[in-house]
Subunit: 397 residues, 2 copies
């Protein structure tokens, strides 16, 4: 397939040739999407850690956030940074890779090797752009289930994830209750709020306002809407942090100066930090993927799919749940997690709900937050005993 | 002075020929600015309501917010909407125009007739653009004091304002304690927080990312960075409303449809609302003014100007204060107002501090919030009695 060179930005090499395992699905195995279309050529890029045991009972699926990916516990191929959940996943970590077989796949609509808007559309030989049907959280989970089937795993020991990952966790149990022994939806919500949609709308407008976006056809033009994507990331990033942490970390400190310079440069450290978040993001993320995945979150409304009752989504599920929220998370505040816990209780599912005191904001689940790590370890160890999964090769249970 | 036609957008006619009273200051009366420069040709556009009494004791100065202006209580010349504080200012309102002489001036750096970046620079014959020195809240207040001097008013009965207007109120008392009998800083802060700066930084980046911004020289090119300014406004607007109010008003309601269309159009009502906020804003506001005035807020740090002590800023002030905050305001939360009240107490100033329960968010002071209106009326009536100002012509005191 001949095609003009793609931009280096937005990790576009990973779209074509991911440094990951890859599973291909042909027209015999289409992904049926909520938007009505079918994806007849689906590629899923994924990582695994640890070994599947003989009983095939120790598989843990990690669902990633809006802008993270399958590189949970290994060095990221673009940024060179540690995997985004290395605090939780690895030898001796709560999701212990010497005990569990850990799977993490890039979501449909993403840009790290799974089919997304930057992928080549086999029907046209050019990137999908906006020709890719819009995706929903249910579509993401349906694709993951196809991967899990191919891997020959009937029931997952655990599905875990935070934020958009947590939405997928909830959707997994709603869609495939028999296939999830334990679930950890973290810092998430069963439906996107008006404020959540509002922030996403701003990000999308920022991208679409960039003339280099070109109605989504920027890759063929050899450009990328880096300025718009950068603004989108800056706005979103504020919502990931708590007001308190911003104040403690940055306050009103100036960047490399002792007095204001009276300019529109990044004079304050917080400005410099956000600029950095924005500009580094565009090197690893595709602008159209940002549109698709924010939209998937916006559409997420699990109660609506079950006649307005979240409890109905979980009725009869035997999955044991650990629902976690963080006190300073104002993006998906504790109230959203409490609603999940209440619905699970009403549905009869075994659930423990923990609100963790921290000023780490929404991103606390990505940090080495001791109480969160301890909670996760306790929940998973107990669930593993109940499931009869052997101890870790090293270290105490 | 010959000059190519300016864009109709951004209320640019008002910059040149405001439908307001205008006060001109020449080189004999320069505005000395914190950035070190002097403005030798200052124009201030202002509105007045009511009549100054013989004792010249009944003048109330209203300080406006980031994006409002001098049109407090009259139909706005661009939008045709009622004045932005008609709930508070007018006959029978707490700031009763049959009792008080109300003055409201457009701030320096604004775009409604007072000298700002869209004004013609007499030295070059073209708009200032970024050649206008950056402004601070203290500069804004210094210019207002020049206007008040010209109007022959020694002491203002009251200075009132919310948000950026509240910062000006605080600065008035700090700079000219003898000249302010009563002060109402509302929904404001004595220093901009890291989160406050962060949101402003996003807005500025959105504007500066728009190729039509042209390094601030868009007016001469006959273009305006409407897309960037619109994104800036959308992001800021979210911070003006409470999560609760957004949920109640918009929730997840779709715009003119019963099911998702699976598109990137404004499918949700909240998206449509934000789009409208963005696109209507660009018709009345100048993008460079947005840069200047957000920056002025970011620089605002009253404690820092007084050796780190907010109490020192108010030491010896006899001004009676009414400090007001709103429970659902997360932009300038109650804690920021409490810090002001504490400093006033420490400084010995008479202060009443009222936190008003509302889901109206930051913008609650612009709404017809009954407890806020009643609080303001009570405070002002008592202060007017103390100052010996005659009763309103109509209605009870």
């Amino acid at each position: 397939m001949q095609f003009q060179p793609l931009s280096k930005a937005a990790g576009i090499r990973e779209v074509d040739a991911p440094q990951s395992l890859v599973m291909q699905f042909g027209p015999d195995c289409p992904l049926k999407m909520d938007a009505g279309a079918s994806l007849n050529h689906l590629t899923i890029a994924y990582q695994t850690y640890g070994e599947l045991n003989a009983a095939r009972s120790n598989a843990v699926l990690i669902c990633h956030t809006l802008t993270s990916d399958q590189h949970v516990a290994n060095t990221h191929p673009i940024t060179g940074k540690p995997g985004w959940w290395h605090t939780m996943v690895g030898p001796g970590r709560p999701i212990d890779t010497t005990r569990y077989f850990v799977i993490a796949s890039n979501v449909v609509g993403g840009c790290m090797g799974t089919t997304g808007p930057a992928s080549l559309n086999p029907a046209t030989g050019r990137p999908y752009g906006l020709d890719l049907p819009l995706v929903t959280i249910r579509d993401l989970v349906r694709a993951q289930a196809m991967l899990i089937d191919r891997l020959g795993i009937g029931q997952l020991f655990c599905v875990a994830g935070g934020s958009m990952g947590g939405m997928q966790v909830l959707q997994w149990v709603a869609s495939y209750p028999e296939r999830v022994f334990a679930a950890m939806p973290i810092a998430t919500s069963a439906r996107h709020s008006a404020e959540n949609i509002a922030f996403h709308a701003v990000g999308r407008r920022a991208i679409m306002a960039d003339p280099d976006w070109r109605q989504g056809r920027y890759l063929e033009a050899g450009v990328t809407p880096t300025k718009g994507l950068s603004v989108a990331r800056m706005a979103a990033h504020i919502t990931y942090l708590s007001k308190e942490a911003l104040q403690v970390k940055f306050g009103r400190k100036l960047q490399n100066r002792s007095a204001p310079a009276f300019s529109f440069d990044a004079e304050f450290q917080i400005e410099n930090y956000l600029d950095h978040q924005g500009t580094s993001f565009v090197d690893r993320f595709d602008a159209n993927s940002y549109l698709y995945l924010t939209r998937a979150c916006d559409y997420f409304d699990l109660p609506a799919d079950y006649g307005g009752s979240l409890a109905a989504a979980f009725r009869g599920a035997k999955t044991r749940f650990c629902v976690v929220s963080f006190t300073s998370d104002w993006l998906y505040p504790t109230e959203a997690s409490r609603a999940i816990a209440r619905a699970l209780n009403a549905g009869g599912a075994p659930v423990s709900f923990v609100e963790i005191e921290t000023d780490g904001g929404h991103d606390a689940f990505l940090l080495d937050t001791p109480e969160f790590i301890a909670t996760s370890r306790g929940f998973l160890d107990a669930a593993a005993r109940a499931r009869g999964i052997a101890l870790a090769k090293f270290g105490p249970d």
